[in-house]
């Protein structure tokens, strides 16, 4: 059964249907990509799935449970996390501390214990730290653990967000343009990182403009245009679909060549 289902989802902003009757089904432990031209509604769809927006109509099912209208923190505690297209780094904290926040839902001490710094808090801090270091290592940032998060290069911040989300141990991880601003080497590393995450059983939903990455890594690709579903299929099917080429690739020559 699919881990994430979206059924006839819709939302409008000021009369514009940003997402219009979108239905999709994401199988477990795969890479499911959502592509489309700018303004197609990809990030809006992410905001709906992750609970940042409430859908006007339609349902979202996570592991078979209707989670429509759940707040983002409640969804996160059910195993759905995400990264952001425009970075949402905790700039006040170090890279390691950013990832430690990702462990929050697994931390069991209460605020009174925290105030008194009881032995349970000390044990908790140690366990959190180890798990966070392991998550940093998964994205290759272990050497930057103690640096202020705001001092990292852009691409590293993108990976820091992935590590932070991984630390929360999601079943489903939404990645919003993780390769934006990455050079080809970094994009190659990102490809490896995503594959490793999927091998561990996590389902990845990917919004990405880098077509080489999308075509290489995706098990399924869902194409949006003007808030509606254009088509869905394997990389080969999407690539050879004339409607996709016209709506999306045809209008962007550089990207079109990368795909064709």
């Amino acid at each position: 059964m699919s881990i994430l289902q979206v059924e006839r989802l819709s939302i409008a902003f000021g009369g514009v249907r940003a997402i219009d009757d979108v239905t999709l089904s994401v199988p477990r432990a795969c890479v499911f990509s959502i592509i489309g031209p700018n303004g197609a509604g990809k990030t809006t769809l992410f905001n709906l799935i992750s609970g940042v927006y409430r859908p006007a109509a339609g349902r979202v099912l996570l592991d078979g449970v209707d989670v429509s209208g759940f707040a983002p923190d409640r969804l996160a505690r059910r195993g759905l996390s995400r990264t952001f297209q425009n970075l949402q780094i905790f700039f006040r904290l170090s890279a390691l501390e950013n990832v430690m926040v990702g462990r929050n839902r697994h931390e069991t001490t209460n605020v009174i214990q925290d105030l008194l710094h009881l032995p349970a808090v000390r044990r908790q801090n140690r366990a959190t730290r180890e798990a966070a270091l392991a998550a940093l290592a998964r994205v290759g940032l272990e050497a930057d653990a103690d640096k202020p998060a705001g001092s990292l290069p852009y691409g590293a911040m993108k990976r820091l967000e992935i590590a932070r989300a991984l630390a929360s141990e999601p079943q489903v991880l939404l990645l919003d343009e993780p390769a934006a601003g990455c050079n080809p080497v970094e994009t190659g590393e990102l490809d490896e990182i995503i594959r490793a995450i999927v091998r561990e059983g996590v389902t990845i939903v990917l919004v990405e403009h880098d077509m080489r990455l999308v075509m290489n890594i995706s098990d399924r690709i869902h194409v949006l245009a003007n808030g509606r579903t254009l088509t869905e299929g394997s990389a080969a099917e999407v690539r050879s679909n004339p409607a996709v080429v016209e709506a999306y690739l045809g209008t962007h020559n550089a990207r079109g060549r990368a795909v064709a």
């Binding site: 969804l75 996390s81 949402q88 905790f90 929050n104 925290d114 932070r164």
Partner: protein
């Protein structure tokens, strides 16, 4: 031995050292009173800094909690015959309860809207204290019975200096503990990006409410101490100007710096005393100096100087 002194407790060590060292240089007993005032305000400022500097939630009504704590130790013994020490705790409990109830709706607000809502809360407390004259003595205030601890009457500046120093040390230790804990990390995360904290599963509303309650308790205890130290209170203690003063101490000393809270309280308690020589121009001089601090040390005294020192060290 070195392991016993955890480096994160540096501000705590500083408080203990300063409290022990200051009496050696006090020229007259009057200075004990100033010292006690600094420690008491520092307590309230640390609480407010946990809310503002760490969690990023502003409060322009925190003097309301000073007022609740102050009137608890005035009304409890006078009208209800309760011991003063118990009323310090009762006031803290009442402040916590009020913060818990008021915080649920208003902490959903952000930025300027939260500022105005907390301002309204502070005004409300001050008005209640003024109007309930039967209990509070109205605008003229009321006298506060002396605190007796284990048969020892705590009175005089010197005694309060030591009580305030001890309590401040506890307040600093608890604040430092909180910062280096799951709750503390979550609060700092909320400050930078609420949505990112949410998608990681952080119960943002609950964390904000928790730190609001904690900061209310700090302010309440400080209010009780101020009342007991002065022996007389008026509703001005809960007024808008007091709230602004607390915020100014947080920002001047440094948002998100416990050590900064001590410095901020110290500067804004001591400066008006030091400037009395300017007579009519005292307030003007104070205003200019505070503006000068903020222009030259715009992130607050401690963070700016700290960064300058760190930059020069390597």
């Amino acid at each position: 031995m070195a392991r016993l002194i955890d480096s994160r407790y540096t501000p705590l060590v500083a408080v203990v050292f300063v409290a022990l060292a200051l009496p050696l240089i006090f020229p007259s007993p009057f200075y004990y009173r100033i010292g006690a005032l600094v420690f008491i305000f520092a307590l309230a400022v640390i609480g407010l800094n946990l809310l503002m500097g760490f969690a990023g939630q502003v409060s322009l009504g925190h003097a309301g909690f000073l007022g609740i704590g102050a009137y608890a130790v005035a009304i409890g013994p006078t009208h209800l015959g309760l011991p003063s020490w118990f009323c310090i705790f009762a006031g803290a409990g009442a402040s916590a309860l009020v913060a818990y109830v008021v915080g649920q709706p208003i902490l959903r607000l952000k930025g300027h809207y939260l500022a105005v809502a907390t301002l309204g809360f502070g005004l409300m407390i001050a008005i209640v204290l003024t109007n309930e004259a039967g209990w509070t003595g109205g605008p003229d205030g009321m006298s506060v019975p002396r605190l007796v601890l284990f048969g020892w009457p705590v009175h005089g500046s010197k005694a309060w200096y030591w009580v305030a120093a001890g309590t401040l040390a506890v307040g600093v230790a608890l604040a430092l503990n909180l910062i280096d804990s799951p709750s503390g990390r979550a609060l700092q995360a909320i400050h930078d990006s609420e949505v990112a904290a949410l998608v990681l599963g952080v119960r943002v509303a609950r964390k904000k409410l928790g730190v609001f309650v904690i900061s209310a308790v700090y302010a309440s205890v400080a209010g009780s101490y101020l009342a007991l130290l002065n022996g007389h209170i008026t509703p001005d203690l809960a007024g808008f100007m007091r709230s602004i003063e607390l915020v100014a101490m947080v920002v001047l000393g440094g948002m998100g710096s416990i050590f900064g809270s001590l410095v901020g309280a110290g500067v804004l308690v001591v400066l008006p005393q030091a400037l009395t020589g300017f007579h009519d121009y005292e307030h003007m001089a104070l205003g200019l100096i505070v503006m000068g601090f903020m222009i030259l040390l715009r992130r607050g005294i401690v963070p700016t100087l700290g960064a300058a020192l760190a930059g020069r060290a390597p």
